[in-house]
Symmetry: C2
Subunit: 197 residues, 2 copies
Amino acid sequence: MSERRPRKDAVRNRAAVLAAADRLFARCESPETVTMADIAEAAGVGKGTLFRAFGDRTGLIQALYAERLEPVRNAVEEGPPPLGPAAPPLERVPALLDALLCFKLDNRHLALALEETGSDSPYQAAHYERWHSTLQAVLERIPGLTDSAFTAHALLAATRADLVEHLVGHQHLPREQLRAHLAAFTARILQPSTASD
Amino acid sequence: MSERRPRKDAVRNRAAVLAAADRLFARCESPETVTMADIAEAAGVGKGTLFRAFGDRTGLIQALYAERLEPVRNAVEEGPPPLGPAAPPLERVPALLDALLCFKLDNRHLALALEETGSDSPYQAAHYERWHSTLQAVLERIPGLTDSAFTAHALLAATRADLVEHLVGHQHLPREQLRAHLAAFTARILQPSTASD
DNA sequence: GTACGATGCGGACCGTGGGTCCGTTTCGTT
DNA sequence: AACGAAACGGACCCACGGTCCGCATCGTAC
């Protein structure tokens, strides 16, 4: 069984490609202006190498995204409160959303690239599924909140990369203000329902 | 000055193209599987005609979308309550969102095509700007609701075409249930804030 | 150190699809 | 009927994602 470990040059090239891709996506306005050939050239490798290592464009972007997301994922899954699992739901939900928002703010170019790359929708991406199920599970523990699945989708939708880009990139909404808005929005959702009687 | 009216054949062809495009988008799974050449052929015109009439792919889809949206837009801008301007804000907001959601449910293929077509983001599209400013204006009249601009964005994000497609198309969530979820979500946002003290 | 698979490399090559160009046709006006 | 303007159509162009395969490099066995 067991995988044989990859050759040294393969490892080096893989890293070079990821670094180059990150650099290029960060530099350019729209991710679609960065072609695979550009990335290969910037990394100093051939196109074939790049496709061999990542399969296709989506694979490359996902790999890059996953790498960057890892610390956050870690903090969410086994870190201390308020992000980690031990936090009480009413604190953890805003913390999760804020963490996700901050990540997207810090990696706008990547998040944009990922969301606009999929054949369709970010809803296929494994990352999304993960965030959604985590968030949904936490929401479920909040009394009075029904529809936790939809609520999770709707809250996550408020942090979508293209919206963030629109607000911060095009309309120059300051980062802190966006965070505050999202926090306020979340708080409204979480506040105990005064539903009918 | 004044524009000279277009030739008859141009009008006929334009209509034929719109009809063909609508048919094709409706039939196929993913809008990206429908090529411009396909549309031209289905409409019985040459590719040049198609591009002359609509400029580019985005233009064609926008034109189609606009045509379909028109009745809704009309109802919003000058129709009777609860959709029209005369409705009290607390009723009009859910009505607006429900109308938009229903439109996207009824025109999933189109909405998807539009959102995934833009060079980037639906936030450039004129239609979005319109919905946003309408919704924001209504939200503004609700006491205790700050951040009306962001709130409008966040609520609209909950109706995004790819999310709708994910829920209804892939997960087979029934239409009425999705409407109910969105209504409940909206109600939570609109409910008077018990904010601190 | 050398020999020799296996693994990886690279860039020429291919197919596809959006968009353009221009000789030809159709319109509508005089 | 005739003529200029407007529109047509499909051959053509090119950028880009993805493939292929002869060649280089790695690491292991001796």
